[in-house]
């Protein structure tokens, strides 16, 4: 008989396919916010891509939602250790948004209403890996979950999927965003448990 008991608080997670190391399943959708929830009227919403040479390409809400969209089902993994599998979203692929953008930069900084930022390598936004999502589970995205629109980069920890997104900046050198500058990992791969700097 083992001496060490896992106790009543231990969560079984060894046998769940799709669950990265150190994560547990949740069926809720926890809300994590680093500041007040911005309420953005759709007639004041815009999304702007800025290149490393200062070129800009912008969409207002009606232009953005007229773009071709994808309906995707993905697993999401928060660095605070909850994972939610099989979530359904509608959004515009970054492949679509970046199709006519000329850039030689390798990195991006995602910007949000309210000042939040997070850095993502450009290649992690391409080839069907990332979207600007505006519906969750068939409904308009609630402000608490990042509405009107949020980044969705499900293969990285969910802090990279910035809420209330309003811009993408191409940058030549990788730079830490809001949480990365405060100790979190510069890249954030949940399958490698890249939670903090040095992981």
């Amino acid at each position: 008989m083992g001496i060490i008991s896992r106790g009543f608080g231990g969560r079984r997670r060894e046998s769940v396919p799709g669950l990265p190391p150190g994560q547990y399943l949740t069926h809720d959708f926890p809300v994590l916010s680093a500041g007040p929830t911005p309420r953005i009227p759709l007639d004041r919403w815009s999304f702007t891509i800025t290149t490393e040479t200062g070129g800009k390409k912008s969409w207002n809400w009606s232009e953005f939602t007229a773009l071709p969209h994808d309906d995707v089902t993905v697993d999401i993994h928060c660095v605070t250790k909850w994972s939610k599998l099989g979530t359904t979203w509608r959004g515009v692929s970054l492949d679509t948004l970046l199709a006519d953008v000329e850039t030689a930069a390798d990195y991006t900084m995602v910007h949000s209403f309210g000042g939040y930022t997070t850095n993502v390598p450009l290649e992690d936004l391409l080839d069907g890996k990332a979207w600007i999502a505006y519906k969750f589970d068939g409904e308009d995205l609630e402000p608490e979950h990042g509405g009107p629109a949020r980044m969705l980069v499900p293969h990285l920890y969910f802090w990279k999927s910035a809420k209330w997104v309003n811009g993408l900046e191409m940058i030549n050198e990788d730079e830490p965003g809001f949480w990365e500058a405060a100790g979190y990992h510069i890249y954030g791969d949940p399958w490698l448990e890249q939670r903090y700097q040095g992981d």
Partner: protein
């Protein structure tokens, strides 16, 4: 989610400083307003403390508690004013 004020950082800050930093006065880098650390508005406790200026809502302090170290980011404060004990 914001439910607390800067007093809730007291435990984590005591791991870094040898005195109670919540009584220190900050000067916000955004608006220049000042007050006690304990008066900052606290958000985001799940990933780490995000302490915002109650006057302009800019981030004054971020504190992230990793498994083996604590990260304290103070770029939102241009100054901390700390009382000396016994003076």
């Amino acid at each position: 989610m914001r439910e607390l004020d800067g007093n809730a950082m007291a435990g984590d800050l005591r791991e870094i400083f040898a005195f109670d930093v919540t009584v220190a006065r900050y000067t916000c880098a955004g608006c220049g307003d000042g007050g006690a650390i304990a008066q900052l508005m606290l958000w985001g406790q799940e990933m780490g403390h995000v302490a915002r200026c109650p006057h302009c809502e800019d981030v004054v302090m971020r504190l992230v508690h990793g498994p083996d170290r604590v990260y304290l980011d103070l770029r939102g404060a241009v100054r901390l004013e700390l009382p000396l004990a016994g003076v």
